[in-house]
Every structure is written in C-alpha cells, then in structure tokens.
C-alpha cells in the first residue's frame, strides 16, 4: 500500500487530493504504468513523482507506506 497525494491540475483530473493504492508496486516506473492505465487522459510525461518528499526517478523502489506525490509542472513565484 502506498499513499498518493495529488496537486494542482492533477488533483482536479483525478478528482481527489489523496488516495491509496493497495497493489504492490516495485518501483516508480511500475507506479507510472499503473497511473497511465487508470488515468489515460493525464499527460504523465510532464508530471514528476516524489517519494517521501523527494523527487524520484523511474528506477527508485517503492516500499509499503511510502508517501507518493504527483507533481504537475510547478508554477510558484
């Protein structure tokens, strides 16, 4: 199980700011595949993924209870 937080545009597109995925995910890439299947309308290539509040790469492993964030292009300032 991982906890997923969604922000900005992605939050509106998935329709919620926080949800869980019960399926086991090996790494960030598996998560991307899962999300692309579930939400094909979102352009995932422009969405960064953070694991436990750090930007993550595709090969980074996921663990039970990780806090995942879906980060569309940032626009602070």
């Amino acid at each position: 199980m991982v906890v997923i937080k969604a922000f900005g545009q992605v939050k509106e597109q998935v329709g919620m700011g926080e949800f869980r995925i019960e399926e086991e995910m090996q790494n960030v890439k598996s998560l991307r595949t899962y999300l692309s299947d579930k939400y094909p309308a979102i352009s995932w290539s422009s969405v960064a993924i953070a694991v436990n509040k750090q930007y993550a790469q595709d090969q980074d492993p996921l663990h039970q209870g990780d806090e995942i964030a879906l980060i569309p292009p940032v626009s602070g300032g």
Binding site: Q9, K53, Y55, A69, P72, V74, S75, G76
Partner: protein, 135 residues
C-alpha cells in the same frame, strides 16, 4: 529561514534578514500581475505541497549559502487566494557587501520557480486554469 505563510509582511521579513555584519540586503518580491499573455487576470490561487516545498526551499537556501558569502537567506511563499498587486513570494539575502546580494537573490527566485512544489491557478473574468510554465 524558509516558510509558507498566509500573508507577507515586509517589515517583519526585514527583521528576519538584517544582520549586524551585513551592509545591505537584496529582496525580490513576486506580485500578482493583472495580465498573462494579454488576458486579464483577476486573482491567483496558490496551492503547495507544504512539507516538500519547505525541504526544496531549504535545499536552494543551502546552495546559495555555499555559492556566495551571505549572512542570512530567507524564502517565504504565500498560499491561498491573492489579488492583483498583492505579494506572493519574497526571497532575500543579506551580505557584508552588495556585490554578492544581487546574483544570490536572483538565484533564489530562479530556482524556486523551477523545483519548489507550489502551483498557481489563474482566474480570468470568464474562466480559470492551472499555470503550466512553458520551458
């Protein structure tokens, strides 16, 4: 000092930034502009991933401290709804000599806009959208 706040008070931030060994400080204040690509903007709404935004701002702050000789460095971003003319972000540095202050301050705001998880929704007279900066 890095912080997410509801409203920005420059006189307070001056006190956080001033230092007895500093001869000056440079501040950049981001404000709400009334237009974007020639469309009239009425308000902005800012959302952040608070805890990660703090971590990312702290990274940028440390990088600036390594690159320049600075006394103090602050990064403060506001959240919520902001109207035209209101301050939404302040970054600033104090340093013994002003030569360091300008590039260091510009670095802070340039980096903030690249990596800190904060999002801006623009409200127009007829609709709204999340801003997606073109690279």
């Amino acid at each position: 000092m890095v912080k997410i706040v509801d409203t920005i008070d420059l006189n307070k931030l001056y006190k956080d930034l001033v230092h007895p060994a500093a001869g000056g400080l440079c501040l950049f204040v981001g404000t709400v502009r009334d237009n974007t690509e020639s469309k009239e903007v009425t308000d902005l709404f800012f959302e952040t991933y608070d805890e990660m935004a703090i971590l990312e701002m702290e990274k940028i702050r440390q990088e600036a401290i390594e690159k320049w000789k600075l006394e103090k460095v602050i990064m403060v971003h506001a959240i919520g709804k902001k109207s035209v003319g209101e301050p939404v972000v302040v970054v600033g540095v104090s340093s013994a000599h002003r030569k360091e202050a300008f590039p260091a301050c510009q670095f802070l705001i340039d980096e903030l806009k690249k990596t800190v998880p904060i999002w801006k929704k623009e409200y127009f007279t007829d609709n709204s959208h999340w801003v997606s900066p073109t690279p």
